[in-house]
């Protein structure tokens, strides 16, 4: 290789003094020559220098053995000397390659899609299956306690009515082949939640007075909703959602972090939307679980559709845009789905 002489900046070790120097690069060696006397003429072998990897066209920084610093402008020739003649193997070569840039523009969305659509849910399913019962039990008890302190009140339904529902609930469960979860049905009043039902991972299913009243005490409709909640428990949805939310928010933070400002707002928004997509998928699974069981029990799936229609009455209207910010699919679609299932 020919030698190359270039002007650079030399910073002394331990102080901010800077001198212009002539640097001569030749095979495996670096020769330092100062125009004034403050820097000693010196010859280093490249192996004793710590050379910062190339990034873009920022100046190449070379740490000298005495902790002094040498800064050289980055250009093809300098890079070739400093990177030992094989710069094409470095990350910088990838970063400056048009082919890689184009490939990345295509591959990034593709991999993100695969990651969020398939990898995270698969991971969450296996995670959920391994959560011990003691943990789900603890989680359920604490959640129930917290809800009862805040938004759940004692049921105001007549005790006789509650007993009647409990008997129907027992009957429903005895006809199903369920895992050995200890299913319990609770009635609670909640102004905050309105007509609603939810399941905790230990098998506690809570139905609000408002829902019972909305369904006009039609137990067929209530059964459809209870089957949906049982579906959540049977399919370990609570723990799945926790795992999915956790991994997704970490992934979004790690892939797109360090942005700052208003971008954070959009990250928060997309995080919410991603989580809602996970949640909506689980709702679909619970719906289809309920519809399958209804088919198996010989119940009319129209009950499910009617229960959803009742719930739809409590809403002012649904919009596709707002639904991105909702944890549940559109009721309209859920009704269509129930009616589209092949009937008996």
């Amino acid at each position: 290789m020919q030698q190359l002489t270039i002007r650079g900046q030399h910073y002394q070790a331990g102080c901010s003094q800077c001198d212009e120097v002539d640097v001569t690069l030749l095979d495996g060696q670096l020769l330092l020559d100062a125009t004034d006397a403050s820097v000693e003429r010196c010859c280093y072998s490249l192996s004793e220098l710590s050379i910062s990897p190339k990034v873009g066209t920022i100046p190449r920084e070379i740490r000298l053995p005495d902790n002094g610093l040498l800064s050289l402008p980055s250009n093809q020739e300098v890079d070739r000397y400093l990177d030992g003649g094989k710069p094409h193997r470095s990350i910088a070569a990838m970063e400056s390659s048009t082919t890689w840039a184009f490939a990345s523009v295509l591959l990034v969305p593709l991999f993100l899609y695969i990651f969020f659509k398939f990898a995270i849910p698969a991971l969450a399913v296996s995670f959920a299956a391994y959560v011990p019962d003691s943990v789900t039990g603890l989680a359920s008890r604490h959640t129930m306690m917290a809800l009862e302190k805040t938004i759940l009140d004692k049921s105001e339904l007549a005790p006789s009515l509650q007993e009647q529902y409990q008997r129907q609930w027992q009957a429903l469960r005895s006809r199903l082949q369920l895992s050995d979860v200890n299913y319990q049905l609770y009635f609670r009043k909640s102004d905050h939640m309105g007509a609603n039902a939810f399941a905790l991972p230990d098998g506690s299913v809570v139905v609000t007075d408002e829902l019972v009243n909305l369904l006009e005490q039609n137990s067929d409709l209530l059964n459809a909703i209870l089957l949906h909640e049982i579906g959540h428990v049977e399919l370990h949805h609570s723990m799945r959602l926790i795992a999915e939310t956790l991994v997704a928010s970490l992934a979004i933070d790690y892939f797109f972090g360090d942005l700052g400002g208003v971008v954070e707002f959009f990250i928060g928004l997309s995080n919410t939307m991603v989580q809602n997509q996970f949640s909506q998928k689980l709702e679909w699974q619970a719906d289809n679980f309920a519809l399958q069981q209804m088919h198996y029990l010989g119940l009319d799936k129209e009950h499910f559709a009617q229960a959803m229609e009742k719930l739809a009455q409590t809403l002012a209207g649904e919009s596709r845009v707002e639904n991105l910010l909702s944890t549940h699919p559109l009721l309209k679609d859920r009704i269509d789905n129930a009616r589209a299932q092949p009937s008996l």
Partner: protein
């Protein structure tokens, strides 16, 4: 290597440097000539040796786009592990493209330091998240512990980031302590609630003051004379702008919904929600630009590195708001692909608005003898989204 130099176009600082390097005994004529030129050029009032340097950013969007997208791909393929390397490369790109007074900045962190901090941050975040899912009580206790640790994390984060910033082979540094951070970032903000947030601008000033007065460049300390009245002006100005814009956009939303209703556009698509979000973003952007411009200009004008540099910042509120709005639109319409362009032009905008008056002491800064920090604080703070930013 002796040569006769023509000094006719040399600046005062250059003359001064030339004079310092000449041995008056060996070259009496040269020395006398320089002394005369220096005397001619020295203004009566200004301190003799300050030179003003603009801040120049050399990065360019197309170069950085390629770096960004390839690093993003590598990060995704390695399930986030490469993000530590990507962060170091990105920071090196931005730091080293920033030039003041003929010297570039350097980012000195090693990827493994960042990775270690990220793993600890990840474990803490996962612990908090899972605790929250299992037991709200345990999560509350965890949160309390975290609140107590917050001042420590803030100090660690500042210490790490500043220590990893180099300029002229000298590292910056930070020696704020736990108590100072506890007061500025936890105690004062909580107390300001009882003043109905009227004291909050003062708290913001206290935060900036804590950060700046504890910063150092090598062995030289930072100092600042910021005053609370600018923070009050900036805060109240921002609030007034926000209220004004909110009223205007409320009217606009009302009118547009009316039009949509009349022409039957509403239907499936919910325009109100969309226009509402847009209005919120607009209000936030414009109001925060006002605060940022006013406070940054004040902070820079009133702060200095003792014996080394004075600063000046001339951020224009209008152009800053415009920058942020166009950034936002670009990001939305390119689905985020404009990110590199946005980062490069924002950095250039900020750099162009900044000036440094370099004193001759800048050539004589010594390293700070006691420096140590780990990446842990920074990354833990990152994951929990505790953002500490100046200006």
């Amino acid at each position: 290597m002796e040569k006769q130099t023509d000094y006719t176009n040399s600046s005062l600082e250059e003359l001064t440097i030339a004079r310092e390097r000449i041995d008056a005994q060996a070259q009496p004529e040269q020395a006398a000539l320089l002394d005369r030129l220096i005397a001619e050029k020295t203004p009566a009032t200004r301190p003799a040796r300050a030179r003003t340097s603009r801040v120049t950013f050399h990065g360019n969007a197309s170069e950085y786009f390629s770096i960004w997208i390839v690093n993003l791909l590598l990060t995704i393929v390695t399930l986030g592990i490469y993000s530590a390397w990507a962060k170091v490369r990105t920071n090196r790109y931005f730091y080293a493209n920033l030039e003041v007074d003929g010297h570039r900045f350097s980012y000195l962190a090693e990827p493994l330091q960042i990775l270690k901090g990220r793993i600890i941050g990840l474990l803490l975040f996962a612990a908090y998240f899972l605790l929250g899912a299992i037991s709200p009580v345990a999560a509350a206790i965890f949160m309390l512990v975290l609140l107590i640790a917050t001042p420590f994390l803030i100090c660690q984060s500042l210490k790490f980031n500043l220590k990893m910033t180099g300029y002229r082979n000298i590292r910056f540094g930070f020696n704020g302590n736990y108590i100072g951070a506890l007061l500025a970032f936890v105690v004062y903000p909580i107390l300001s609630v009882f003043t109905l947030y009227l004291a909050f601008p003062w708290v913001l000033k206290k935060m900036d003051e804590f950060i700046v007065t504890n910063m150092r460049f090598g062995n030289n300390e930072f100092d600042t004379d910021i005053t609370a009245d600018t923070y009050y002006g900036a805060s109240f100005g921002a609030v007034l702008i926000a209220i004004g814009l909110a009223i205007v956009s409320f009217l606009v939303v009302g009118v547009s919904v009316g039009i949509a209703g009349v022409s039957g556009l509403s239907g499936q698509f919910d325009w109100t929600a969309l226009v509402g979000v847009a209005a919120y973003v607009l209000v936030f952007l414009v109001a925060s630009s006002y605060y940022q411009a006013k406070v940054r200009n004040h902070l820079f004008a009133e702060s200095r590195i003792v014996d080394v540099a004075y600063f000046n910042s001339e951020l224009q509120f209008g152009s800053l708001a415009m920058l942020k709005l166009t950034n936002m639109l670009a990001l939305m319409f390119t689905l985020g692909l404009a990110m590199p362009w946005v980062k490069v032009r924002s950095t250039r905008f900020i750099a162009d608005a900044t000036e440094v008056k370099v004193l001759s002491g800048a050539d004589k800064v010594m390293v700070d003898p006691q420096q140590s920090a780990s990446a842990v604080g920074e990354e833990v703070a990152d994951v929990f989204d505790i953002d500490v930013a100046i200006g």
